[in-house]
Symmetry: C2
Subunit: 333 residues, 2 copies
DNA sequence: CCATAAAATGGTAGCGCTGCCAAAAAAACT
DNA sequence: AGTTTTTTTGGCAGCGCTACCATTTTATGG
């Protein structure tokens, strides 16, 4: 044992005693709730300072009705998307004295289910999830729980309570329409695990449908059953081109994958976009710093987090908010 | 209000009543602690299932002595470094039934202080921080608190309790020695806010000292007072080269910045490494997928998180663990 | 079959705080 | 000075659970 553990922490009762006032008075002063005189406040604060009192929020939450915890159950932390959402939510939650708790599902619905159960044990004020796809038991728990639910980053489906995001289907369609408009006709796809990342799956199917509807079916595709990464993007494009060399454009499941594809082209001297066009998804800053700005779709990730937090703070009524997205006509497609 | 809120949740007492056993029996069964018969367990579990009981961990934590919360107070979520650390810690903590809570400081010591105070109110089992540099009051609170403290990602200094990481000074030195060994003599630096990111500051000063000690002082530098980013790296190199065109190598504060520099060279046709060498820090996967693998230092970020969590789970005695790092002799320097 | 050990169970006092209510003190009117 | 109103204050019952102890039940042994 390194430092001084196992000492019993200072309690509110001790502060009350030291200040010569009642417990409820200390509680009122500390929460600035109810009325108390100036001299009482001073005495309490002096005692707090002197004893180094730190209120015990565990006890506070148990005693009062509502908790100030917000539970995030997100697919991944490596994916900058969720980091952005958390960042957006962070500031707003803090302002309203909420505390964020989180857990990572690795895109696994079963793990999500287990983690939601575990989170609900903390009686959070809200549970924030990614997307609409959850297990039956997850839905059941969430409905039974006495808390708000925000499903983020998607609006294609039926929300449980609140939802903030944008349409992945519309994004897939917009991407396809853009490539068609630019005249590409031999279009391929390089993606990652679609079963687990259902939002990427929605983009993909909508992308394909749009192509087909325009008489230009998807020429080929290369899909990894793993998480997305720059490396996977590069390998994926390599395999795809080996099989179907005459492609004139490739749609990637996201910007990371697209960057990998871009690197592959650079390494092999494939000229972009004349020999091969590249299109991504997310609109990361990184893509816009490339020698040729990446053509992609910019999604309001930080705004999603901010709004989600705001809705919880304001105890807004159930609703679905579509924040939209922006297509960036970069230089790679 | 969308869903069914404000219903009172099922309590342990209700489960006990429904199962026809005492409260303590239910508690024992649920925690698999103490002894109980098979038929009792079945009756309890049936009641739990039927009522949809979810244990209230707030109450549980208050009643028992030690909490199972681990508080992470980290500088940033956008920086993949911390995401990696959290990812590493996540699995281990979960195994041991710990729950992670986190807050982001944006590299601001004052915010760190406020957040540590706020975190301590949850009476966590441990507080995980980045580095050794904290405000006086932060140190004081941490010492007074009845919890473990892990300072991560640095070992150059005096630890409060536990520390897991690697030496940023040694990394700076190794980078300088590598560039010198390769024969570079006109070496520049492109970095970000060194006052706030003290670990980057340590690398920088150690890098400079090593150069000087070898009679090759730093030729020039370009330092932004903001967070690191690919874009800043690109702009930084642009400015640096405009001022000092004869540089033959540039040391970047991290891989993101270096990637920006790489993009800048690609865009301007600067040949790497013959015209200009580039060296980064972190060893992100991304850097190794570039057409030319980035020369950099790979840091054990995930391992840092894992070990930090393990030490907490095992209630290990105070100690400092240096996980070391690996210099990647890529193709850019 | 009784003594003794072991296993299973229930009762209940808190954990530290908040919310409610009643009481006391101060202020504002007659 | 005597009321009435308003502001401050303290007491105390929980919040839902766990830890401890006492008690009952079951198993073991001679």
């Amino acid at each position: 044992m390194g430092t001084s553990r196992n000492q019993t922490a200072v309690t509110l009762a001790q502060v009350a005693e030291a200040a010569g006032v009642g417990e409820s008075t200390v509680s009122r002063v500390l929460r600035n709730h109810g009325s108390y005189s100036g001299k009482t406040r001073d005495r309490v604060m002096t005692a707090v300072e002197r004893l180094g009192y730190v209120p015990n929020r565990i006890a506070g939450t148990l005693a009062s009705t509502g908790s100030r915890l917000v539970a995030f159950v997100i697919p991944s932390l490596s994916n900058i998307v969720f980091a952005d959402v958390l960042r957006g939510a962070g500031a707003t939650l803090e302002e309203h004295q909420f505390q964020a708790v989180f857990a990572v599902t690795d895109y696994d619905p079963a793990r999500e289910e287990a983690l939601v159960a575990s989170m609900l044990a903390w009686r959070p004020a809200a549970v924030m999830l990614a997307g609409y796809e959850h297990t039956e038991r997850t839905f059941k728990m969430l409905r039974a729980a006495n808390c708000r639910v925000v499903e983020m980053l998607d609006v294609d489906g039926t929300a449980l309570d609140l939802a903030v995001g944008f349409s992945n289907r519309a994004a897939g369609r917009a991407s396809a329409e853009f490539l068609l408009k630019r005249g590409y006709r031999r279009i391929g796809y390089v993606g990652h695990d679609l079963d687990r990342d259902t939002r990427a799956g929605k983009r993909y199917s909508s992308f394909c449908e749009t192509l087909s509807a325009n008489g230009v079916p998807l020429a080929d595709r290369e899909i990894y059953r793993e998480a997305s990464s720059v490396e996977r993007g590069r390998l994926g494009l390599d395999l795809l081109l080996a099989r179907t060399p005459d492609l004139d454009a490739v749609y990637f499941s996201n910007d990371d994958m697209a960057l990998g594809g871009y690197f592959h082209c650079l390494a092999l001297g494939i000229v972009i976009p004349s020999q091969l066009a590249i299109f991504g998804y997310n609109g990361l800053d990184l893509g816009q710093v490339m020698p040729q700005a990446l053509s992609t779709i910019r999604t309001p990730r930080v705004a999603t987090g901010q709004l989600a937090a705001k809705l919880i703070a304001d105890n807004a009524p159930s609703q679905v908010i579509d924040l939209g997205f922006e297509l960036i006509e970069g230089a790679t497609a």
